[in-house]
C-alpha cells in the first residue's frame, strides 16, 4: 500500500510542475476512463441479470413486457411465482435437465480425477527423473498442445466403432455360451468413451503445466524421505503430490471449466439422449423451446446451465486468477 501512496505522491508533484491545465485534462481523462469501465461493467453484468429475472416470467409475460422485472420480484405472491416454478420444473424435470446435470457431474468428475492422477504421475516422472526417451515422451505430450481436436475427431470416431465391434465379436460368443444373453460393447454412446477422450485430450496441457511445476519444487524433501527408507511410490503420494497441490488445483480448475463446457466431442460421440452432458442438453432444450415457442423454459435452462460454473468461479476465483498468473509467468 505504501508503494502506491508513494506513486501517487510522485505523480502529484509532477502535475504541480506541469501546471493546472494538465491536471484538468488528466482528471477528465480519468473520469472518462472510469465511465468506460462502468459502462463495460453494465454490459457484462446486465445481460446475465436479465436472463436471471426473465426466467421468472411466462412466455406470454415475456412477450407483453420483455424487459421489466417479473411479478415474482415486484409483487411476490403465490400467484406471481407460478411462472418461475413452472419454467424451472419444465426444465429440470420435463426436459431432463437433472439427468444432463448428473451426467456432466459423473463424466467431468471421473475425468478430472483421472486427469489429475495420471497427469501428475507422468509430470512428476518427467520432471524429476532422468532416463532414456524422457525427452521424447515430453516432446510427444507437448505436440499434443498443437493438435486441434478436429484433426482427431473423424479417425477416432471410426476407431471407436471398430473397437466396439471387435470387442463384441470377441466377448459376445463366450457370454452367450455362458447363457448370460447378448452382449454388445460400444465406446460410442458411453460415458467411458467420452471420459477416455476427455482425459487423453487434457493430458498435454496438464502434463506440460505440472512438469514445469514439479521442477520448481525443492529436491531436498525427496532426498530426506528417501533417507527415511520411503519407496518411490510413498514419496510421490505422501510427499511430492501434496507439495504439488497448488499446481494441481490450478490445472484441475482449468480442466473443469474446459470439460464442463465441452460441446463438440459430446455432439459426435453421444447420440443417446439419456447420456447427454449439460451443453448438449442445453442445445437440445433450446431447440425444444423453439419448437414449442417456450421462451420461459429457455431462460430457465440457461440459468441452470450457468449457475454451476458461476458458483465454482465465485468460490475459486482467487485460485483461478492465481492459476492464470502462474501460467502467464511460465509463458
Amino acid at each position: 500500500m505504501a508503494a502506491i501512496g508513494e506513486r501517487r505522491e510522485v505523480r502529484g508533484k509532477r502535475r504541480g510542475a506541469r501546471g493546472e491545465r494538465f491536471s484538468c485534462l488528466s482528471a477528465l481523462a480519468s473520469g472518462l476512463k472510469y465511465a468506460f469501465l462502468l459502462a463495460y461493467l453494465v454490459a457484462v453484468v446486465f445481460p446475465v441479470c436479465w436472463v436471471f429475472y426473465t426466467s421468472a416470467k411466462s412466455t406470454r409475460q415475456i412477450y407483453e413486457n420483455p424487459f421489466g422485472l417479473p411479478r415474482a420480484i415486484t409483487g411476490p405472491s403465490a400467484e406471481s411465482v407460478k411462472p418461475l416454478i413452472e419454467n424451472y420444473r419444465t426444465a429440470w424435470v420435463g426436459s431432463r435437465f437433472s439427468r444432463y446435470f448428473l451426467n456432466s457431474v459423473v463424466v467431468v468428475g471421473i475425468s478430472l480425477a483421472s486427469i489429475v492422477l495420471l497427469g501428475s504421475m507422468a509430470a512428476y516422472v518427467l520432471a524429476r527423473f532422468t532416463f532414456r526417451l524422457r525427452s521424447l515422451a515430453y516432446l510427444l505430450f507437448v505436440c499434443g498442445l498443437l493438435i486441434p481436436t478436429q484433426l482427431v475427431l473423424i479417425p477416432l470416431f471410426f476407431q471407436f466403432s471398430d473397437i466396439g465391434e471387435g470387442l463384441t465379436r470377441l466377448l459376445g460368443p463366450p457370454v452367450r455360451a455362458l447363457g448370460l444373453g447378448e452382449l454388445t460393447v460400444s465406446l460410442h454412446d458411453s460415458h467411458i468413451g467420452l471420459i477416455l477422450i476427455y482425459v487423453a485430450f487434457s493430458l498435454p496441457f496438464t502434463v506440460f503445466t505440472l512438469t514445469a511445476f514439479f521442477r520448481t519444487l525443492p529436491g531436498e524433501l525427496r532426498e530426506a524421505a528417501m533417507m527415511d527408507g520411503a519407496g518411490e511410490y510413498r514419496i510421490f503420494f505422501s510427499v511430492m503430490a501434496p507439495l504439488g497441490k497448488p499446481g494441481i488445483v490450478t490445472v484441475a480448475i482449468f480442466n473443469f471449466l474446459g470439460l464442463w463446457n465441452e460441446y463438440l466431442f459430446g455432439l459426435v460421440f453421444l447420440s443417446d439422449d439419456r447420456l447427454k452432458t449439460l451443453p448438449l442438453g442445453l442445445a437440445s432444450i433450446s431447440m425444444q423451446a423453439q419448437y414449442k415457442s417456450d421462451f420461459g423454459l429457455l431462460f430457465a435452462a440457461l440459468v441452470i446451465a450457468m449457475v454451476p460454473t458461476m458458483v465454482v468461479y465465485m468460490v475459486l476465483q482467487e485460485k483461478l486468477t492465481r492459476g492464470i498468473t502462474l501460467g502467464a509467468l511460465k509463458g
Binding site: R7, V10, R14, K33, L37, Y40, L41, V44, V45, P47, V48, P66, L118, G119, M121, A122, L126, F129, F131, A137, L140, C143, L146, I147, P148, Q150, L151, V152, I154, P155, L156, F158, V199, A200, L203, P204, V207, G219, E232, Y233, N261, Y263, L264, L267, P279, L282, A283, S286, F299, L302, T309, Y313, Q317, L320, I324, T325, G327, A328, L329, G331
Partner: protein, 303 residues
C-alpha cells in the same frame, strides 16, 4: 556431487526405478497415444481417400486437397470467416484487455470488482453464451437490443443474426466472453514488473503513456504473444457459437472450418474432404504457433 549419488542409487535399484517410471508414465502415455496421437496420424491417411463411410474407400491422392482449394469451394469462405473471427474480435479483445489490465493495475477504486466481474463471462459455456446472445439479438419482442433500439425510436428491428450479419454479430459476443481472461493474464504480467522500473522512468519525467509503451509493453511481450497464440488458435477452431446460432445448419457465408468439417462428415458423408479440412486446420494452427514463437524469441533478444 548429488548427481553422482543419484547415479549410484540408480545402479543398485535400476530395475525398480525403471518399473516405477513405467508405471507412472505408462498409463498416461498409452492413453494419450491411443486416443490422440494414433488417430491424428490416421487423419493424414484418411485425407488421401475418397470415402463415404459406408462403402469401400477409394484412393484419391491429393484430390481432396485440390477440391478444397478449388474455386467455388466452401473452404475458402470458411477460412476467410475464421480469419475474420480471429482478427476482428481478437484486436478488440486485446486492446480492451490491455486497457482494462492497465487501468486496474493502477489500483483504481473498485479494481477488484472490475476484475472479478470482467472475468465472469469466461466461465460460461460457449453454448450458453451463444444462446444468451441469440436472445439479446432476437428480432422478436424478446430481443434485448432491438427493444433498446425501439426505445430510442427505431421502428424496424435489425436482423442481427441473419446469416449475412451473423459474423459481425458474433464480434461483440466474442469480445464480451473473452476479454476477461486476457485481462487477468495481462494483469498478472503487469504485476510482475518491478515497481522500481516505473519509479526510475518517472524520475526521468516519462509520461504515463510513454511508461506504458516503453516499460509495460516490452516487459510483458512474452505474455502478450502467448495471448495472441491463444486467440489465433481459438479463432481457427471456432465452432460452438456458429453451430448453435445457425441451428446446426450454417451456410456458405457463416461456415467456419470446424463447422464445415462437421457438416461435410456428418451431413454429407464425405470423410476424405472432411479430414482434408482438418489437416489444413492443423497446419494452420502449427504455422500460427511457430510464427508467434519465432516473434517471441526475436523480441526477447532485443531486450
Amino acid at each position: 556431487m548429488r548427481r553422482e549419488a543419484r547415479g549410484k542409487r540408480q545402479g543398485c535399484r535400476g530395475v525398480g526405478q525403471a518399473l516405477f517410471i513405467l508405471s507412472f508414465l505408462g498409463p498416461a502415455l498409452l492413453l494419450y497415444a491411443f486416443i490422440v496421437l494414433w488417430p491424428a496420424l490416421n487423419a493424414f491417411r484418411y485425407s488421401l481417400y475418397n470415402w463415404d463411410g459406408l462403402s469401400e474407400p477409394r484412393w484419391a491422392g491429393l484430390g481432396n486437397f485440390r477440391a478444397i482449394v478449388a474455386s467455388g469451394s466452401e473452404f475458402i469462405p470458411a477460412i476467410r470467416n475464421n480469419l475474420f473471427l480471429t482478427f476482428v474480435p481478437g484486436i478488440l479483445t486485446l486492446s480492451l484487455a490491455l486497457f482494462f489490465a492497465y487501468t486496474i493495475h493502477q489500483r483504481i477504486r473498485g479494481a477488484r470488482l472490475f476484475r472479478v466481474a470482467f472475468f465472469f463471462p469466461n466461465v460460461i459455456s460457449g453454448v450458453a453464451v451463444a444462446l444468451l446472445w441469440t436472445l439479446i439479438y432476437s428480432t422478436t419482442d424478446v430481443g434485448l437490443l432491438n427493444g433498446l433500439l425501439k426505445l430510442l425510436g427505431r421502428t424496424e428491428p435489425i436482423a442481427f443474426t441473419e446469416s449475412g450479419n451473423l459474423l459481425w454479430a458474433i464480434v461483440p459476443m466474442s469480445v464480451w466472453s473473452a476479454t476477461g481472461f486476457f485481462m487477468v493474464l495481462f494483469l498478472a504480467a503487469m504485476e510482475n514488473i518491478p515497481e522500481t522500473y516505473y519509479e526510475a522512468a518517472r524520475l526521468d519525467g516519462a509520461s504515463s503513456g510513454s511508461q506504458f509503451r516503453h516499460i509495460t509493453l516490452p516487459l510483458m511481450w512474452d505474455v502478450l504473444t502467448t495471448g495472441i497464440v491463444f486467440l489465433v488458435v481459438g479463432g481457427l477452431k471456432f465452432f460452438d457459437a456458429i453451430f448453435v446460432m445457425e441451428n446446426g445448419k450454417p451456410g456458405k457465408v457463416t461456415h467456419t472450418m470446424a463447422t464445415l468439417l462437421y457438416s461435410k462428415v456428418f451431413n454429407e458423408y464425405n470423410m476424405g474432404y472432411g479430414t482434408a479440412i482438418s489437416v489444413m486446420l492443423f497446419l494452420l494452427v502449427l504455422a500460427a504457433t511457430l510464427v508467434s514463437l519465432r516473434l517471441m524469441r526475436r523480441e526477447r533478444l532485443e531486450y
